[in-house]
Amino acid sequence: MYLHKPMSLLAVLLATLVGSVDARTVIQNKGSDTLVNVAQAWAEAYQTVDSDVAVAVSGGGSGTGIAAMINGTVDIANASRKMKDKEKKMAKDRGQDPVEHIVGYDALAVFLHKDNPSGTMTIEQLADIYGRKGKARKWSDLGITVPGCKDKIVVVSRQNNSGTYAYFKKAVLGKDKFKNGTLDMHGSKDVVDLVEKTPCAIGYSGLAYATDHLQMVCISKDGKPCVSPSVQTAGDGSYPIARPLMMYTNGQPEGAIKAYMDWIMSDEGQCIISKKGYAPVRPVQCN
């Protein structure tokens, strides 16, 4: 048995693999798990707008996207939080110049099990449940009895490189830290799935992940009447825990990236984000 044949076959294969060069422009888009489904929908729809440009979408969390921007391995980084000054400096030191674009708004919905009777909460009550300084460990501490639950609150949170985690911490806890013993899930969908099945649970995620099988808390801040999360209340700023969703480009966008960013900001692009359950940056008419 001779081994010449397989060897030459390998060489031919390798040559074909490396040899084929294509004219297609690829935009690398990576980051926030909150934005990833919108980014995917944009990429999917953009095929019909310009078939010579392909958008490659990856998730991993806002931190992942920002790190890739700092390392210069993406064209557009998605983030559901602002880049920190330290991160901007790191990017500058490596020759990148991140420019921020607000592409939409997200209401952070607080979820409860369907059977939980409390439909309204204040920011202080949330801080009491989630914060390290907070005292609420049982539902009875808040004067609530939840059917099917033995009173202890199951506190559901996110992993610490998530932008959702960072924003919730800032908006609800202020300077306090998260309580020890929270269940940290690796995705908004996991939070929703868990709260749906657990009567004792409370969790949070972007509004877009809400399902009919759980209830969303109406939230009041500073003694004002409570506001329910919706695309509308996130967009007009009346819902107390809504945040901007960002895309970072390296320098002012040019060429294919500019065309893509412009399209995202157009009525067509903004209707897609609105259809995914987030608020567009300005009122748009969609069919």
Binding site: M1, Y2, L3, L10, L13, L14, L17, V18, G19, S20, V21, D22, R24, V26, Q28, D33, V36, N37, A39, Q40, A41, A43, E44, Y46, Q47, A54, V55, A56, V57, S58, G59, G60, N71, T73, H186, G187, S188, K189, D190, V192, A208, Y209, T211, K276
Partner: protein
């Protein structure tokens, strides 16, 4: 006249006990495999169709097929094999046929064993640092496949070495006595006789590479790509990551879809394994000893 004593009876009972016990252990091993396959077929079988295999995902990945992920996995595995098989087999040939039993060889052996023990996430981070950033391949099939290749190299080396060592020394001595060089011996006698064992290593590598998620997540696999990869410098979707994505990241996915993706992934590994095993059996039939 021979009579069964109490002692004989006890021994026989103990014998039966252990035999049953060990048999139960075997059943216990097979059971999870059957349960997993059964669940996947029961829950995911309904989504499998030619259309599922040969169309792209649509509607925010809640509908449509898995073609880009399927093709992507084939790319990743093939390129990884192209790198690791020649490299691994060559290294194994050197270690088994040429290297003396000295401190240098022992250090290399130790390194290979340690390489096999490195967790896949560490390989992933190494891949990002080395291939994506330092060599500048970017997040691409090339970077991901090289990472996979390094991760699975020990499997190929160890399997190849063992099958080379299984070729009787007398075969080599006979060749040498006829005046053949080492390389002639390796090419005409040792490798042909060891090929079925080498294939076992390749099978193991294929199985492991197909299912790996961590090493490709940061080095080359994308959440979504609107095109099929055309060169090793493209990013790609992959079945394993696609399974992770549709089961944890995308809201509103029909329940059967993730099971369907998992079923395809498992079936792909099983089919590749069976093909290689069939080939091995065929080769073994041609063995002369």
């Amino acid at each position: 006249m021979f009579e069964i004593s109490e002692l004989n009876k006890t021994n026989m009972r103990v014998e039966r006990l252990y035999r049953t016990l060990f048999f139960m252990m075997v059943l216990l091993l097979v059971l999870p495999v059957l349960i997993i396959l059964g669940t996947l077929i029961y829950k995911g079988g309904s989504v499998i169709s030619l259309e599922f295999l040969f169309t792209s995902p649509t509607d925010g990945m809640t509908a449509g097929g898995i073609l880009p992920a399927l093709i992507g996995t084939v790319w990743l595995v093939s390129v990884a094999l192209l790198v690791s098989v020649p490299l691994g087999v060559a290294a194994a040939i050197y270690l088994n046929e040429y290297a003396g039993n000295n401190w240098f060889t022992r250090i290399i052996n130790l390194a290979i064993i340690n390489l096999a023990g490195v967790p896949s996430i560490v390989h992933a981070l190494f891949g990002v640092g080395a291939f994506v950033i330092f060599f500048g391949f970017g997040t691409s099939i090339l970077a991901a496949s090289l990472t996979l290749a390094i991760m699975t190299l020990p499997v190929v080396i160890v399997a190849t070495r063992e099958s080379l060592a299984a070729v009787p020394m007398a075969f080599r001595e006979a060749m040498w006595n006829m005046g053949a060089t080492r390389w002639q011996t390796i090419r005409r006698v040792v490798l042909p006789n060891a090929i079925s064992g080498i294939l076992t290593g390749v099978i193991l590598e294929v199985s492991r590479t197909t299912g790996e998620t961590a090493p490709i997540m940061f080095t080359g696999a994308a959440f979504f790509l609107p095109f099929l990869p055309e060169s090793v410098f493209d990013q790609t979707m992959a079945l394993s990551l696609h399974l992770f994505v549709v089961s944890t990241q995308v809201p509103g996915v029909p329940e059967a879809l993730p099971y369907g993706v998992a079923l395809v992934l498992v079936a792909l590994v099983l089919i590749m394994n069976s093909l290689s095993i069939a080939f091995r059996v065929y080769l073994r039939g041609k063995k002369k000893w």
